[in-house]
Symmetry: C2
Subunit: 454 residues, 2 copies
């Protein structure tokens, strides 16, 4: 089937097409391609080209897609495009966008354009936009759209049907109506499926679904995402502190949260910002990464200090210098396995202080078994290599000690960081390798000093 | 607001409650809590307790939730629970499950139970189940549910409304009907919202949405997820090689794919299986992790070999042994930043062979700037520490060389692995640190041999 082409192949051919046009200068040739892509796909393409060429390509993006495309590029690329665009183009881009999307975009627009946007909106829409803007973007209030269709519990399905027929249109992705009391309190949901299939004489209150609890408007986006996943929700009501319905969240907004969270973990572990533009200006990238390298340098010097304590030993037994990276590296690898398991478990809520002890015991057992196994292998090789049986025993023992230290550190570091309110994904691995380096070098060279010096 | 408690706090208190019950032996106390949780939440709780206790807790899970809960635990825990359960309990668990969920579960059930399940189903459902089972689980066919409601294009909305009224019920999460030709070919979608709001005298063909392209049944799950994200879909039709409609995929199934993919990257980078049970038996965990440690050991020995080449130098200038871990470590950190950017970019389709060169130039520039910056810092410290100006220059130069090598390796390794069909998330970091260790030790000790030996 022609459509069975992989996503990567598709991207490759789009990129190739783009490069060809950029090099030959025949930019018009890109138009048909850009018109056939969705805003998300155009956004990805914009992220994939060097920044100097982005504005050129942006000019060919269909105007209808401007607003949504801006939402689909990362923060850095968005700021850059907004900077380069004229105010009237930006104003045009915001037209017809759903309130929740507009709320995400408007905070990045120049003040002048924001004022214009608010000015051109009708009162009703402006109030709705301002309501969404009054909540933090990473809360239920910031995620929600307030275009809910509400009905009262004491009317018949037939009345609701006639009301919808008269309305003539429903907001995008509406698959449920929300049932509210006279005072605006959320009571339940009524799916369009029920509305179409059940006896029209029945009342809304008899058939509405009251199982789905409303989300408080100040709930964090991460919790909203978890609730959607736990309950397999498609949409959910959002209520204020008085249980009044203020909006709805649909799953397509939640999907972005879920993906962003996962990306955040992956990028943090390497000390990168998840909004990092692949083609960011060199100076900006270099400055950011310098911090991470500097933090690592501090810890590397700490490890070097430990090695420095054993200068006298090293000058007599050079084999120790040759083998010491092995001990440190094996500790780092073992520890990072435990650390990764902990970071994922903590973020899923699978691991907490309540069961950390059980996990520590298991990880210690695994560390001891693998320490002995690979310690023995390394010991035999070291013995053959340097013809020194004592050296073999020493490296084996040091390796076991370091695996044990790595397991303890792997469990303890993320828990301690969580207590201190630090993201373990961000700082965990730097602290961990410092500890495994110090223990590894210290144990190996310490044992060497005790048993190998004459 | 009471509901503003964090997810972690909730999990902690559930775990604490569970531990208390397990320790006091008063298991009945858990019943109210388990009855108030969703299958996904129960699944997470089961994953969070030591395996010896899981069966005890499982016995208290409401029977209605058995099937779905089994779907929400990872592969290992599922296999374990299925092993421990009687056949008739398992048979009861499958009752009333949607076909797509049942298809996911049935492959893990004992053969005897599978036969029973098929035996108790009516012909229609059995045929639908067998159809889903005939596709690989990680394809559109494996993800889909074949409970589509279809209508013909040449009937009026009024006829469709009366048909649904007569039907009396719709499958879960139905928000669209599918329009097919006389021969079963997919033509378009009709949302329930349109059905309720538009003029009932109009024909389906006039109002149906033909924008959403059908997904081929053999499309990979990853591509399906990308399509849903790119087009903000809620549900999509699936067609066979003759364009005949065979089922539909809803976004809740896709959310699982998106999350699993992200988890796969995080876990792979540490050489872990994403289905790994946190409380897996010690022997099994140890065996698996041993492979990863063994692979790392091979590469560590390679680095040690390089150090070994310079034994004579090291015995004369011990300072080199003290400082060499710094050079290697800074290379590893710098390289893993580039590598992470590449792995994410490749999986998003943001980076390909077409723009890798531009990225390489940028990464090289960043590496040179940071190499010179931190090389100078390290150089000054080394000079002060060991009172040797030449040593300071040597370590600075080695650090720059290693940052450059790290940037090249960080870009080249994942591209090469992709060409070879190897997952860069899995093997990338081991290969990368081998290269940065070899370059780091080689450059630093090599320069030391040239310029520091008398």
């Amino acid at each position: 089937m022609s459509d069975a082409k992989t996503t990567e192949d598709q991207m490759e051919s789009r990129l190739a097409h783009l490069n060809e046009a950029l090099e030959s200068g025949r930019m018009r040739r890109l138009k048909p391609m850009l018109h056939s892509l969705s805003p998300a796909e155009i956004g990805l393409l914009l992220e994939s080209i060097p920044r100097t060429k982005r504005e050129l390509v942006w000019r060919l993006v269909p105007e209808d897609d401007h607003g949504e495309t801006l939402l689909h590029v990362n923060d850095e690329v968005r700021a850059e495009l907004i900077d380069a665009l004229d105010d009237d183009v930006l104003l045009a881009a915001t037209e017809g966008m759903p309130i929740d999307d507009l709320a995400d975009l408007i905070e990045d627009l120049p003040e002048q354009v924001t004022r214009e946007v608010l000015h051109t909106m009708d009162l009703d829409n402006r109030e709705r936009l301002e309501a969404v803007l009054s909540y933090p973007p990473d809360s239920a209030g910031g995620l929600m759209n307030n275009d809910t269709i509400t009905v009262r519990p004491d009317v018949s399905l037939d009345v609701v049907r006639r009301y919808l027929q008269q309305r003539g249109t429903l907001p995008d992705d509406t698959e449920s109506l929300f049932v509210i009391s006279r005072y605006g309190r959320y009571l339940g949901m009524l799916t369009l499926a029920k509305l179409l299939t059940l006896d029209p004489e029945r009342d809304v209150s008899e058939v509405m679904n009251t199982d789905i609890e409303a989300l408080p408007v100040d709930m964090s986006a991460a919790q909203v995402a978890k609730r959607f996943q736990d309950l397999d929700l498609i949409s959910a009501p959002v209520v204020d502190e008085n249980e009044k319905l203020v909006g709805r969240i649909t799953i397509d907004d939640v999907v972005d949260v879920i993906r962003d969270e996962a990306e955040h973990s992956i990028m943090s572990m390497a000390g990168l910002d998840e909004e990092e533009d692949v083609f960011a200006p060199i100076a900006r990238s270099a400055r950011r990464r310098a911090t991470w390298l500097g933090a690592n340098l501090l810890t590397a010097f700490l490890a070097a200090q430990v090695v420095g304590l054993f200068e006298a030993t090293l000058s007599q037994v050079v084999a120790l210098a040759v083998l010491m990276p092995i001990v440190a590296s094996m500790g780092g690898i073992g520890g990072s396995q435990t650390l990764t398991l902990m970071i994922r478990g903590l973020s899923l809520g699978q691991i907490g202080f309540g069961n950390a002890k059980t996990l520590l015991i298991k990880e210690l057992a695994v560390a001891i078994i693998n320490g002995i196994l690979w310690g023995a292998v390394v010991g035999v090789i070291a013995q053959v290599w340097f013809g020194n049986p004592t050296l073999g025993v020493i490296i084996a023992v040091a390796l076991v000690i370091n695996q044990i230290g790595a397991a303890i550190a792997g469990v303890a570091i993320p828990l301690a960081m969580k207590k201190m309110g630090i993201d373990p994904a961000l700082a965990g691995s730097v602290v961990l390798t410092t500890i495994t380096d110090v223990i590894g070098f210290g144990a190996f060279l310490g044992l060497g000093t005790l048993f190998l010096l004459r």
